[in-house]
Structure formats: structure tokens, C-alpha cells
Subunit: 477 residues, 2 copies
């Protein structure tokens, strides 16, 4: 066992003996939900119950150069929360306090450890909507959503998590607790510092609670499942629906046929038969129970020239069946190990060429390679499962280089919504310039000068850069 | 005349003699649009034509400890761009290049000096909408909108400027030019550094161009002008319309009767007669030319129990007349000098009590005081004109203290959308904690260690704080 730099009794003094685990640590503290190439080791797990306790644990660790990794629901997909043996695990699971919903201001304040589903359910009781939605919502936490700027299925309608954060409480490694911004929609009193902590994957501080803006709940949810010939046709469908039904389209999910076919063995009800190149699930929200389904049906019918087939849900059960087919895909794909999974953004107009090039180039090394592709086309975000048939993971970097290079050449990003963590840190430079990465390193240095917090995630601590604000280089430098 | 620390010939060498003004500098470089308590002096105006030239000017000034102030359309209301005699004025007026609209990605990239109106018009030609709208759009620049996170009349529908920025090009004082983020909707590859520059009022770097996300243009604009008894009634109207017409409400402007009455001398057509406590202008956007006006009329009629009177626009001219009345108000109020103007956020549920307390407290010192109030109720943002009858501005701080203290006690912010600049810097601590302000100072120090850029705006350079990331203080410290 690796020797830690803090003493367990000092951690116990801060949070109580029953909230420090050192023996027989359950696997949920060492593994991501979907497993990971990184092997986790949790020597000690600390569970503070308040922002003050989080800050005290951070300060203790910082004072002793003790690395700390923060854990939420362990639903991340870039191994960011998978601990090393030299790290203290700081779990937010006891930070579950949720405030009463502010009905006038349409906000709710939730502890970092509250699950997304719990907060969704709470606000729904008041006819309101927290417009962040992920398949992992039952485990994913508010703190994790904020720290990773979570995406999900509703981004085309409502935006990423960043857009829903009004204010944050964060604990820093120096032991301070900051409340950043106010619950107000408009607050231009100085720099908006909370933005630094959203999506920075816990490198700068630990989100202990967040105040989130809510939307009015929707009276209706309607949907269609459509088959189209190609991405262009799907985009025409999206653009037409967005123009005809302004503000109504809240999900626009795409599945290539190979990916759609993975659900066949499950015996699940198929919204449309196989045999078409591309399938799209559209969801709309509205307020007219008498007219919305008809309005969607008419709008879809108006797109007949780009549709190969279409089914419009006539009731909630049918819509749920559409979603069941879509949501089954990742689980079925994950059973097809070995595979290499990717979450990327590619401008939709370049997507098909990018995928074709990817298939062609991968085929040179793996002649039987298969690409299963699905995702959030309304946001230019697809998930790609590359099945090479390799039984070892040793050649993973070869696959990654091909995928990320072609994504980058298409003007895309190596991470659309999953973040960087350990999984993608070697490829950050594909999407971000050296200057940007160096600046991230400078911010890391400012907030966490000893690098104790989520060390080596996103940017390897030893490569945190030498960005100089008083560079002597020329403007071209 | 104050001696500058850079030589004019060195500035000329960077941008060309015809782009450096030193004699008879026009008043537009020294004054805000609405005038200002701060008296401006422009000794030298430099007009770079590219990001590289901006960076070169910044580096030259930085190397010589020469303060620089950045100017866009000079439509700010907190004197942030009003120069002091010791400052070099860096005007973005030549950075007007606008890219072709990316129709597939729905983005446009505009130079910092392009006006909001020009970019709006360009994208409208493609059936798209840049959903930032301000009365000053003919002069306000893209760079200024981004640097100040501009609000305006459409925030209730589309959000602040921050939500529309996809990527930024910025020049730093060390002479580097950074491109931050990509035009993609979803890009979680590392920290989102552009957020630092949005709304930080040019303290950290100069925005030289911005890629902005666009929305599909609306086929219809409909509107209603309503009279209600109080804020609660107005909020009921807003909530009902937002639920009945989801996504449609794009403006919700309120005017107290005193403010509405200011338009009387202008002889402008009144949408509704005087005599009610509060007036509301609602605008909706949609896609159904045959049904939207009727749908709004029905929704407004459904709110009859909270309405004292209402007019629904039946055509574009009527809607334009509603807006003409609303937009006339600030101009009329500004003629009523002397006055003290405020842009604040107050949670709408606390607004009436806050205004009542303000009137009562101001009346103790100025028995005939009048408050003219109007603004963006849908975002909890009101503009307050305090007319004390004082003919000198000496007692301005007394008025400010009363207004900002009561706003703060109501859970509001001293700046909703106008920012801080010089005007509000003494009051930043009313809305932001000492730790937040100190952290802003640390970021300022990181990006601009000599404080040459927009010095003394937002945070006085000499008070930029001593925030310590390795504080020895206790967690309570």
C-alpha cells in the first residue's frame, strides 16, 4: 500500500470516523460506471458533509502536498474521477441538501452530491423543468454536471449545463469557500468568476453547491422517428422543424443503421424497420395538448421529400418506445467489447466525409473494422464506437490518432460533452492551441499551486506550461 | 498636456500615420453617448486594422508602462471607455471585417468594430437572427457587446451576449493573439477560456473578433401592450404567456406610469391611455403568420383577471408603435436633467418593496424626489431614474448609497447589464464578496501584470487585492 501524506486521523478529525473509509473500499469508489482503462485504487475515501468540511479537507491535503480526487456519481467517461493509490478520494455524496424551489425566481440550489434525477423530480413537482438530461441522471450528480459542463439529450433545445448555472459555491485548496455570482439572470457586476469552474473538471476548485435556473415545465411532449438517406436530409428535417415549430425541438438524436441494428437481439419494439441509412428521433415540447401532436405530424409531413419513412408518436407510450430504442443503443454497443468509444463534435456538414475517411483509414489496419455511430446531431455531436476486433487495448492510441486527427481536420473537437480527464489529455492539443493549453496551466497554477486537486487530469501536472503574460516574444511568438 | 510614455512615431510605425490621431481629436473619442460625469481627454487615438496590430500596440504600450483604453461604439453607460489624458485610446473602428455567414453551422464571425446593427442586418438576409438587441445597436460594436456581456430587450427570450458567443479572438498585453474555443455548440475539450473575456470589460485582453451563434429568423412578431395593477400581476401575465406560448416570449418590458407619462410631450401615439399603475410591452416571435397574432390575443385574454387594459397589435405598424412608446422613454427621461440613472437587478418578487423603500428613504433628503422606473421585468432588471431636483452632482454618492444598499438588501445586483466601469466601481463590494473582488484582481494581475489595459475600471489598480491561493488563514478566513 502506498503511504499517504496525510494521516487518516487528521481526516477523521475533520469529518468524523464514520465518514472516512480505509478498509474494503467498495468498487464504486474505484471504477467509472462503464469501466475504464485506468485501474483505480482507493486507499482512503473522505465524505465531508458541508462546504466548510470540503474546504478543510482540501486545506489539510494542500498543506501536506497530498493529492485529492473529487468524486460525484462516477458516471464520467474519461476516467477523471478514477483514483490512483496515492490519492485521497473526496466524495461529495453527503452534500445532498437541496433548497426549496424558488418559484418566483425559478431557481433551485442543490448540493454537489444531489443526483440530477432527484433535482429534476423535485422541480417537476412545481411544474418546472431543469433542462439538463442525461441517461445517467439517476447517479450523475449536480456537482459533476457543473464541473464537466454536462451535455445530454436536450442541448439542442436548452443548451449545455453552463447555461443553467446561476451561481456556484466552490471550495478552494487554500481552504476558502467562495460564493460566486447571484441567482439573478442578469448580474454584470464584475467578472463572472463562476464560469471558470464550469467545465474545468475540478482542476481549479470543488463545486460544493450550485444554484440552477429552471424553465416552465412543458405540458406536452411529442415525437417522431424518421428514416432518412443521409445527414443532409437529417439537417433539412431539423432546420424545417426548427423554423416551423420555433423553440419546440428539444431533442434531435441520430442513429446510423449499424448502430440501430444493435438493438435487434434485445427484442425491443422497433419504431421503424431496418434497411434505411439513417434514423432520427425528434422530440418537441409544447403547451397545447389538443394541437401539438397534430402540429408535429403536419410539420413532419411537410418534410416528406427528405423522408424515407416516419412514425409520429400519437401518445406518451409510443414516444417512450422511441426513446427506449434510442437509449438501448449505448448499452448494446458496450456489450460488443472489444471496442473503442469516442465522443466528438464534427460540423454536421462535414460529418459524412469525416466518417467515410475514418472508415477508410481504419480499414487499412483493421480490414473488418466497424463504426457504430449515434448521437446528438442537433448539436453536431456524435458518439462513435470503433470495433476493430482487437482483443487487446494496446493499439488504442493508433485508433485514437486516426479518429481525433480526422475529427480535427473536419473542424471538430476531440470532446463534445464528455470532457478530457485522463482519457483524452494526450489529444487536447488537437483541438486547443498550445497557448490555450498553457493558459489553462497558468490558471491551474493560480488556483492550485501545488497541484493537489485532480492532478494530472486534463493537463499533466508536469506539463502545465510556461505561458508568460509578460512574454518577450514578438507578437508572432 | 500630459506626457505619454510611448512615442507617437512608434505607434505610427505600427498602424500608419493616417491611423494615429493626435491633434483635434473629435469629441466622439472622449465622450460616452449619453455623456458622463467623467471628463474625457484623448491625447492620442490609435486605430489598428487587425488583431496583430492590436497586439503590437498593446505590447508596445505594455513595454513602456503606457496605459491604454479600448473603445468600441462609445455607447457604454459606466464611463468605461472614457479616456484619461495619460491614456492611449485604442479604437476598434477599423476591425470591421465580417465573415460570410456559415449557414450550416449557423454562425458568423465579426470583427470587434463591426456594429451590432450591421451584423444583425447581414444575418437577416439569410433568414437568421443574431439575438442580441439594444437601442444603441447602430453604434454599439460586437467587441463592446462581448466585453460587457451586453443585455438588451431580448434577454428574456434568448439570454445575454455570453450565450451567443462561440469563439473569440483576443489580443493580450504581452503581444499574443489567442483564438479561444471553436465555432462548435459543444466543445468540452479543456477549460472554456473565452468565458474569462466575456463581460470582463476589457480588463484581461482586447476582443478583436467573435464568432457568434445564430438562431433561425422568426416569421412573425406579435405583441401586446397591457396595463396592470402591480408587479405581481405583471409576473402572472409573464408566467402565463410563457406557459401558454412556450419559447415565444422574446421581450417583456415594463414601465411605471410616471415613466410612461414622460412620452406625453412628444405627441407620440399612446398604445394605452395614462392612469394605470404599470404598463407592460410583450413581444412574441413565431412561425405561423395565420395564427400567431390570434394565439397571443387569446393568451392575453386568458389573463383578463390580472389586466386593467390591453391592446394587441394586429399588424407590424401597431407593434412598431408599441415599441416606439417604450423606446422613447429613456430619451425623454434623459432630458429631465438633473437626474441620477441606475441599472440594477432586483428579484421581481421584491421589486415593489425595494422601490417603495427607496422612495421613502430618498424623500428624507429630497422631499420632492421622483423615481421613473422602466426596464426588462422578464429578467428582473429595471432602470431607475432618480430625480432629486439637485442642480449639482455633488450629492450623487448619497443617492447611490441609498439605491445600491436597498438593491443589495433585496438580493439584487448593482449592475444588471451596464457593467461597472468607473461609475460603479465603488459599489462592486455591495454585490460581490471581498474574496470575489480579490480574485478578479488576481486574474487582472495574471493577464495584465502592469495594469496598462483599461486601468482603474471595475477595480482600482491600486486596490487589486491580495487574494492568496495559498492563504494561511483558516477555512473561516
Amino acid at each position: 500500500m502506498v503511504e499517504l501524506r496525510v494521516r487518516v486521523e487528521d481526516l477523521v478529525a475533520l469529518v468524523g470516523a464514520e465518514h472516512v473509509l480505509t478498509e474494503d473500499v467498495p468498487a464504486r469508489y474505484t471504477q467509472d460506471l462503464w469501466g475504464s482503462d485506468r485501474v483505480g485504487h482507493a486507499s482512503v475515501v473522505v465524505k465531508p458533509a458541508s462546504a466548510r468540511e470540503v474546504a478543510a479537507v482540501l486545506k489539510l491535503c494542500n498543506d501536506h502536498d497530498q493529492p485529492v480526487v473529487v468524486q460525484g456519481g462516477m458516471t464520467g467517461l474519461v476516467s477523471g474521477a478514477v483514483p490512483g493509490p496515492e490519492e485521497v478520494v473526496l466524495s461529495t455524496e453527503r452534500l445532498t441538501t437541496v433548497s426549496p424551489v424558488d418559484l418566483a425566481g425559478r431557481t433551485v440550489t442543490a448540493g454537489a452530491g444531489a443526483t440530477l434525477a432527484d433535482v429534476q423530480d423535485l422541480v417537476a413537482q412545481h411544474g418546472l423543468l431543469l433542462p439538463i438530461d442525461l441517461a445517467s441522471k439517476g447517479s450523475a450528480t449536480i456537482g459533476g454536471c457543473v464541473a464537466t459542463n454536462a451535455g445530454g439529450v436536450n442541448v439542442v433545445g436548452f443548451g449545455m449545463t453552463r447555461q443553467h448555472v446561476r451561481s456556484l459555491e466552490v471550495a478552494l485548496v487554500d481552504g476558502t469557500v467562495l460564493t460566486l455570482s447571484t441567482p439573478l439572470v442578469k448580474d454584470n457586476a464584475g467578472m463572472d468568476l463562476k464560469q471558470l469552474f464550469i467545465g474545468s473538471e475540478g482542476l481549479l476548485g470543488v463545486v460544493t453547491s450550485a444554484t440552477l435556473g429552471l424553465k416552465p415545465g412543458s405540458l406536452t411532449r411529442t415525437g417522431a422517428f424518421c428514416a432518412v438517406a443521409d445527414v443532409d436530409a437529417a439537417l433539412t428535417l431539423l432546420n424545417t422543424l426548427q423554423r416551423k415549430l420555433p423553440g419546440a425541438v428539444t431533442a434531435f438524436e441520430v442513429m446510423w443503421e449499424d448502430a440501430y441494428r444493435t438493438v435487434e437481439p434485445s427484442g425491443i419494439r422497433l419504431p421503424l424497420p431496418f434497411g434505411h441509412p439513417l434514423y432520427v428521433l425528434v422530440e418537441c415540447r409544447g403547451a397545447d395538448p389538443d394541437g401539438d401532436a397534430e402540429r408535429l405530424a403536419a410539420a413532419v409531413e411537410g418534410c416528406a421529400d427528405v423522408l424515407l419513412d416516419a412514425a409520429v408518436a400519437t401518445n406518451a407510450q409510443e414516444l417512450a418506445a422511441f426513446w427506449a430504442a434510442r437509449e438501448r443503443i449505448p448499452a448494446e454497443i458496450l456489450r460488443m467489447q472489444p471496442l473503442f468509444g469516442f465522443d466528438v463534435s464534427v460540423p454536421a456538414g462535414s460529418l459524412e466525409k469525416c466518417l467515410d475517411d475514418m472508415r477508410a483509414e481504419l480499414r487499412l489496419s483493421w480490414p473488418a473494422v466497424k463504426l457504430l455511430v449515434f448521437g446528438h446531431l442537433g448539436d453536431d455531436n456524435v458518439h462513435i464506437a470503433v470495433i476493430t476486433g482487437e482483443t487487446t487495448r494496446e493499439r488504442k492510441p493508433e485508433v485514437e490518432h486516426i479518429v481525433y486527427r480526422l475529427v480535427t481536420e473536419s473542424g471538430g473537437s476531440i470532446s463534445a460533452e464528455h470532457g478530457v480527464g485522463f482519457e483524452k489529455r494526450s489529444y487536447l492539443g488537437y483541438t486547443r492551441s498550445a497557448e490555450e493549453i498553457a493558459l489553462m496551466g497558468r490558471l491551474k497554477q493560480l488556483f492550485d499551486p501545488r497541484g493537489v486537486l485532480n492532478r494530472d487530469r486534463m493537463i499533466p501536472w508536469g506539463e502545465r506550461g510556461t505561458w508568460q503574460s509578460e512574454a518577450s516574444a514578438s507578437p508572432q511568438g
